[in-house]
Symmetry: C2
Subunit: 476 residues, 2 copies
């Protein structure tokens, strides 16, 4: 056995030992149930105190990497990745400090739009006019369902696609996440069964875990694997199916019309509801994407969620939810007991923006992001270690395989040490998995950062595979 | 039996019959289990179709006022007021259109501060400066826990009262209601047992109903009835106790220091947590109110909730939650899965306001509301029909008894018909009750409206008790 460890003066020694073994385990250089060196062996070898090693081993145990057998020593645990807390950790870390910058890191993890392209000046003018026109009304409680003019404006924008849509069917929410939250609170019963894609949006997993029974269906480039879906429907009562129709997180996949119609028909046949999360459909860089499932929903089977966080600015904290008609009053009630109503100033300024600036803004951001999209695409194609199985036609995400089947948690950790943040593939799977996938988002990064970030990624993977240049000293 | 009915051309006849009997039942002119006239009797008397009367009776049955016995007729039901949906109805109605004005009504129901006193111009300047200083940062996602400067500023304001408070313990929320929601989502387990005051804040009842087991303890002018509380604690495991420390809704009661200390000691002895809702303590019109329970909380037993909705403006949608230290990470997680973070623009502008304008603003609103407080007080003292058992020392609420034990639901309905909104006492009780209390809030109304509103209230009660002038035609 050839174990190596880095020793430096800047970090606590126990933390170095911890990181070393964590890495060995994640890269499978230690196998499941393999015995680790004894505490004394390591302490002797490194000429350090037993207590220091004990501290490292205790931390490894607490974090679920090893287990102790009394009298026998410590062994590598079969890491259970199906744990929401662990799943969420890298995401929450990336949300610290506003999800834009993590210290001076390059953030390929964030799905937050780049603030360079925010229509800040337009909002400055809108808000300054609103103060003159609306005065103190900007700070009242709005109707729990949302500002009437804003709902009318949204209905108007949707009319092209969703026939006969009325503002009475629309609930204003604080972004897509609150849409899921209101459904959970007002509609979905505890222990209902919900189907999620595999992989899928990580916050959907977090929202429904420990509340619903979850079944998963593999996702394909044109939607769910319908055969697996039908098999599940035949064998079990399903209450909800959650889908992201366009440029799904993390894969970038979009649903074909055939599969959308098929899903609607199944919803009718097997009496389930569809939760359609459609927050990226305006960000297309090729053809206009196909219509939403909601636009075909003549049987009132779809809860439709959309947000302005990605296409305008997340700080507005605004999106909308369109439930099947009979559920709107439950949803309003749900909003009321959540936080009474959304911010009036945000709603009123968004209303003016939608009326006068939205179409132009969409053209602008499409061209802005397309440039970055092309850059990332070309860098992945050039990469020695990254592989793309599917080229998305829009959105923010590239779902990338790393050669040599390197574990994504290790990659996440190693990239992060060098100031590059990605999301490890594991956070997008409900079921225990060990993925070699990472999600690279170009939402928040500049072109310079993209170029530098890819260089670091390449170097890091190279080092993991080929080893560094004499920076390691052999331990045992 | 002398039943009278109004007949007019503007309203559907079945609705008139419905309203008539509903009123008779609520005013107890029909007793529980008393038989109603048969459908045919009424139809003959009024020279209308049987179907019309049937429609009215069906609606009465659906709304829970009467029950049918096959072959015998219809009887007055023992009205079950313990129903959250019914409870919430008048409150939700009052929230329509921003809770400020309901058409041209006088709104004694609303606890929304009067927008006359909003510091709108100050915020206009603050926001305009923020655009220059922070630019597009105003529209990013803030940290889920809340903007760092804002948390530091709040900690600073609290330091006088809560020793050693740190910004690390503070979670920013979208108003007090979201505080309760986050607790429910991240801390309180389903089927926990919680104690509420009787009466208490209606949204606390709504939030915890159908989720927790609820026990109630009578409230007294200086806090809970501690004997009843101790009896419950001795016989049952209690997980949480919810209290409003100062100027409670609906009573205006405030807790004495003795009872606060007692409650804390009981929390330690019986291992429960206290949820302290303290959103009105800055609105005192006599002495400075006593300290919060949180300020005495050396055993880390208190979840403290406060909001800027009442003292600054509700449209900011901002408040804060301070949990016992060990729960802060669960609370942050809870916020993240609710709506990721609160609005950046609101948080940053509040931050500047707290630093430079808050103290002065508080002086201003105290004197503004004190004037209305004195006016309402004098009008209640002059009233022939209203009685005050307790004179609050601050806040927005007078908890008023109506003479002749008139049912509060009837009063709510009758006042509303004449354009005056109050909240019926029943919405503040978890347990079935039939109250003659109404809550009169002077938060949203002007002095003119207060004077006119009280005149209408007096006239309406007079008419209910003494009857109108020949506007009734005898029915049977």
């Amino acid at each position: 056995m050839n174990i190596k460890i880095i020793l430096n003066k800047d970090t606590d020694i126990y933390k170095q030992i911890y990181s070393h073994f964590k890495e060995e385990i994640l890269t499978k250089r230690f196998k499941v149930d393999e015995k680790l060196p004894s505490i004394r062996q390591i302490a002797n070898k490194l000429k350090i105190n037993n207590i220091t090693v004990l501290k490292a081993y205790s931390l490894l145990e607490a974090d679920g990497y090893i287990y102790k057998v009394k009298g026998s020593g410590s062994f590598v645990k079969n890491i259970n990745l199906n744990n929401t807390c662990t799943l969420q950790k890298p995401i929450l870390e990336n949300f610290k400090n506003g999800q834009i910058k993590i210290n001076s890191n390059i953030n390929f993890a964030s799905a937050t739009p780049n603030k360079e392209i925010f229509p800040t000046e337009i909002f400055q003018n809108i808000i300054s006019n609103l103060f003159l026109e609306d005065g103190s009304d900007l700070f009242i409680y709005e109707d729990s369902q949302g500002n009437l003019d804003l709902r009318k404006n949204i209905a108007n924008l949707l009319k092209k696609e969703i026939k006969n849509i009325s503002h009475k069917e629309i609930q204003i929410i604080n972004g897509a996440q609150q849409g899921l939250d209101l459904l959970k609170k007002g509609i979905i019963k505890n222990n209902s069964t919900i189907i999620l894609g595999s992989p899928t949006y990580s916050s959907a997993i977090t929202t429904f875990s420990n509340f619903c029974k979850i079944k998963t269906v593999p996702v394909q480039a044109d939607g769910f694997d319908m055969e697996t879906l039908e098999d599940i429907l035949k064998s079990k009562k399903i209450d909800y199916v959650y889908v992201m129709t366009n440029f799904q997180s993390p894969t970038g996949y979009k649903w074909s019309d055939d599969k959308k119609i098929k899903l609607l028909n199944l919803a009718e046949e097997y009496s389930f509801y569809i939760i359609e999360d459609d927050c990226l459909s305006e960000l297309y860089y090729h053809d206009i994407p196909t219509s939403s499932i909601k636009s075909m929903d003549f049987m009132d089977k779809v809860f439709y969620i959309n947000t302005f966080s990605k296409v305008i600015m997340p700080g507005l904290r605004l999106g909308y939810l369109i439930p099947p008609k009979k559920f709107i009053s439950s949803i309003i009630n749900s909003k009321f007991i959540s936080d009474i109503s959304s911010c009036s100033l945000s709603q009123r300024s968004l209303n003016v923006f939608l009326e006068n600036h939205y179409e132009e803004h969409l053209l602008k951001i499409r061209s802005f992001y397309k440039q970055k999209y092309e850059l990332v695409k070309s860098l992945i194609f050039k990469s020695k270690f990254l592989k793309l199985d599917y080229l998305p036609e829009g959105g923010f995400y590239f779902w990338v395989s790393v050669l040599n089947d390197l574990n994504c948690d290790l990659l996440y950790m190693k990239f992060k040490e060098r100031g590059v943040n990605v999301l490890p593939g594991n956070v997008f799977f409900y079921k225990k998995t060990s993925s070699n996938k990472i999600r690279i988002s170009f939402a928040a990064v500049s072109e310079d950062e993209i170029i530098l970030g890819f260089r670091i990624i390449e170097e890091t993977i190279h080092e993991i595979i080929h080893g560094g240049e004499n920076i390691y000293t052999p331990l045992i």
